[in-house]
Subunit: 358 residues, 2 copies
Amino acid sequence: MKAAYSLTAAVALGLGSSLAAADDAMLERAQLLFKPIPDSAEDVLADRNPMTPEKIELGEMLFFDPRLSASQTISCNTCHNVGMGGDDNIPTSIGHDWQRGPRNSPTIFNAVFNVAQFWDGRAEDLQEQAKGPIQAGVEMNNTPDNLERTLNSIETYVEMFNEAFPDDPNPVSFDNVASSLEVYQATLITPDAPFDLYLKGDKDALTEQQMAGLDAFMNKGCVACHNGVNVGGQGYYPFGVISRPGADILPDDDLGRAQVTETAADRYVFRSPSLRNVELTAPYFHSGNVWSLREAVAVMNDSQLGSLLSDQEVEDVTAFLRALTGKQPDVVYPVMPVRTDSTPLPDIPDYPRGAAAN
Amino acid sequence: MKAAYSLTAAVALGLGSSLAAADDAMLERAQLLFKPIPDSAEDVLADRNPMTPEKIELGEMLFFDPRLSASQTISCNTCHNVGMGGDDNIPTSIGHDWQRGPRNSPTIFNAVFNVAQFWDGRAEDLQEQAKGPIQAGVEMNNTPDNLERTLNSIETYVEMFNEAFPDDPNPVSFDNVASSLEVYQATLITPDAPFDLYLKGDKDALTEQQMAGLDAFMNKGCVACHNGVNVGGQGYYPFGVISRPGADILPDDDLGRAQVTETAADRYVFRSPSLRNVELTAPYFHSGNVWSLREAVAVMNDSQLGSLLSDQEVEDVTAFLRALTGKQPDVVYPVMPVRTDSTPLPDIPDYPRGAAAN
């Protein structure tokens, strides 16, 4: 029995009372609003940065190589853990010298399908995004020059760049580091979530409560900011449009998109996050201070929807969001090439050495 | 032509001048002094902590799970990187709150074959060893109680402990965390190095220079501390027995084994490290301040052998050591189970958040 949602749907969709018809109409509406995760992201990068096996192999090695950071201890995977939903599951990331980043680390899974990267969308794609953390003082704290010298000191890397960028007169470049990282990350997609199966026509892929949650999600406003292939990540919206949450959730000093556009109207505007695999990526929001998915839905209900969702609908939407967890990527840990005597040494503040251990 | 070493061997072994005979005698001597890495370490743990598929699967997940640390950001793999020779390739490890450890992180590869663990051998096996870094304030800074609460809050972990320790009335325990970590690490062995092929009878497995290096290694004293299956790791020896290296290499305040035995004779005594995969594990010595393998051999030559090795022999021994690099383990990155609302939160000092990033 699916009366709980289908009657609502029947009303919302202006259909007759037939539950079967409501089921069909709901699937059709969902198919208009969302798209399944495709089996490959090749089409997205085909024109700009084609996904070749050579770039994927190089990008994976770079993704896991801590020598991308000045201290040679922080890799992309440190804050975008491929075994933990593609992020680090802490409020804001810890970087060089144990500094804290200002915003919650976004998942890299399916990020290739987002309209832009970073919470404020200041990077238009993953290639541009990759250059940020490597250079950020609070993250990897490295420089393009030092990274290029590191990679050039390791023959295997030089060969891999030559193979990945055969037509480039200067293959071992910071640009090509970012290019191969983008291509590797484009392989980190999570198809076949229950919701994907539903969108492909399997009406039994979601539980009854998840169907009720989808119904509320589509008919009570969530879908306005969370739609498309990533169920979000496609546009920019003000956080707290109806009622501003507390400063712990929406810090006063983070103006979001306005820091990019320098437009007053963009104050506290952020790119809506993808909700793909959201149950794996707590804590939530750019401030990373909400640990419970149910609480996150409740915060959105109050701040964005004027509490349009009933308590039951908050539960139902939370259940629906758990249907967005897809097949996690299969990752073989790369064996990285060994340093040489000409490889730059790690830049680590020379603190006194503690006691115990090793 | 292998005259370079075989004449030396002929003399050292007191054999006739037949190069073939010298080749045979050298292989026989090597087979007496060393053993190839076996295909499995099952025999080592068979009586005490049998290697079951359930323990291996659980141990691998724990090995990569940063929630073993108080900050939930540091995993075993952070300092024992399976893609970089099983260590972190920095002088001394960086732990909780960016603290520095006192000694260089040893590789975990083939560690199951060592006589004991840690540079001073204070842990008799990998099960006991695993409990150290998890609790060390300068490393993971966690407590057994907090870790057990974390694991008990995640149903998948509870099920995996139940399956790995079916006869244990309290499967989710700190002891069993260590037990499964030991079993997983026992799978991280590196057979089939050129030297292993040589020990198995392939006289062409080593280059001529590596054969000359092996000859010097066996006949000029290196083998006294570096023998057996791990080419080291089997006993305790004074560092600087003939001439003490500088304090940058042998710090005055690290008494080594004497801190365990409280015996004056053990001052500056350390467990000889395994030389397996040594070309992958720079920087060298417990202080981790020597980056070049050739320099490390030269330091040993001066401090332990009274400069018995000629400059050419230092080069030859260095070449031989590169024949100790085996097949690196194939590791599939585990997908870790998601936290729940009852999982303890990460313990991270609340530093002000930096600018930029994400």
